[in-house]
Symmetry: C2
Subunit: 195 residues, 2 copies
């Protein structure tokens, strides 16, 4: 079953940026300031930030925030959950009128950053959900990332752009098959264990 609404459905991401540094406030505020979030609905509190809108912009904004924090050279991580098709989720629908062009593409492209990431995809409300996880999402075609298994998650290592591209592809494919999909992730860069 393909969803007729396809990519026009509103997506969201509830995430937190974690700079492991005494300058965490400055790093968070600077990253949020440098990234153009005008094509997404955004709400931040002391636990997390929620962005909502088209899939392309949700991934553009989260990737850009992570990259801008990571380029400080500090050990930074981001953890969150992407969601689409949550029943009753109608706020911020006005942001679906935005054009497809990602606002942070150029600025992000100028940043090269290696990272490690674990993610897990959860198609909801379907008895055949494991088929979607294991068969529909073919990560072997992912370019620029090393894919490995992990308890409860799939690990991706490589450039941040390739990692987010792989996650966006997996999310995009899953939501074409299943109405309500969530995808959790934790990505980390500049870890001292890798130096």
């Amino acid at each position: 079953m393909k969803n007729v609404c396809g990519t026009s459905r509103i997506a969201g991401c509830q995430f937190t940026l974690f700079p492991m540094s005494n300058q965490f406030v400055e790093i968070i505020l600077t990253a949020l300031e440098e990234v153009d979030t005008s094509k997404v609905w955004k709400d931040t509190d002391d636990v997390s930030t929620c962005v909502r809108g088209r899939i392309v912009h949700i991934f553009d904004v989260t990737k850009a925030i992570f990259l801008h924090a990571a380029k400080t050279g500090e050990h930074v991580a981001m953890s969150g959950t992407f969601s689409i098709g949550c029943p009753g989720d109608t706020d911020a629908d006005v942001y679906m009128d935005e054009t497809e062009e990602p606002l942070n593409k150029e600025l992000s492209a100028s940043i090269t950053q290696q990272a490690g990431c674990k993610f897990a995809l959860y198609p909801l409300g379907r008895e055949d959900y494991m088929d979607t996880i294991y068969q529909q999402i073919d990560l072997s075609k992912s370019r620029g990332v090393t894919v490995s298994g992990s308890h409860y998650a799939t690990r991706l290592d490589g450039d941040v752009h390739a990692i987010f591209h792989t996650m966006q592809d997996a999310f995009q494919q899953a939501q074409e098959e299943v109405s309500h999909v969530t995808m959790t992730f934790t990505i980390t860069a500049n870890s001292p264990s890798n130096k």
Copy 2:
């Protein structure tokens, strides 16, 4: 449908501790050292730590690690996913023979810490999953926490013990109804925004 295997099924948590401090390495290592993890299987890499075993010990260990990091007074957060009933998940089954008594109960009880937390429960493989989320889990009986709604998540504010108790209750109840359940969470303490 109740699962006959009930609480004897192996649970796990894939989590990361994030101290927003230049002393992050020391805070993480000290917390892991002070907490007794001998009743769970444990594996740590540069992205996250995975613990597996009985539900009671998974929650005892994650709570204790968060508390021991938070008592430093630094701004610390923890983000992760609890899981149970993942098909094909059989490693570390030997830890299911451990007794029910949590090893870090006394040490944790000596620490009082306020926190904010967002969590979301995902019963998998069931078409009636929203019923489980909304009807089976009655958070109004939760003591010591303020419960509020949030995009894609439920927010809990209060003492860390009450927050983890509420999450453990919700997870316990959900996995009695549904075989495969995951629960994501992000908890934060000593945030400068609350000072």
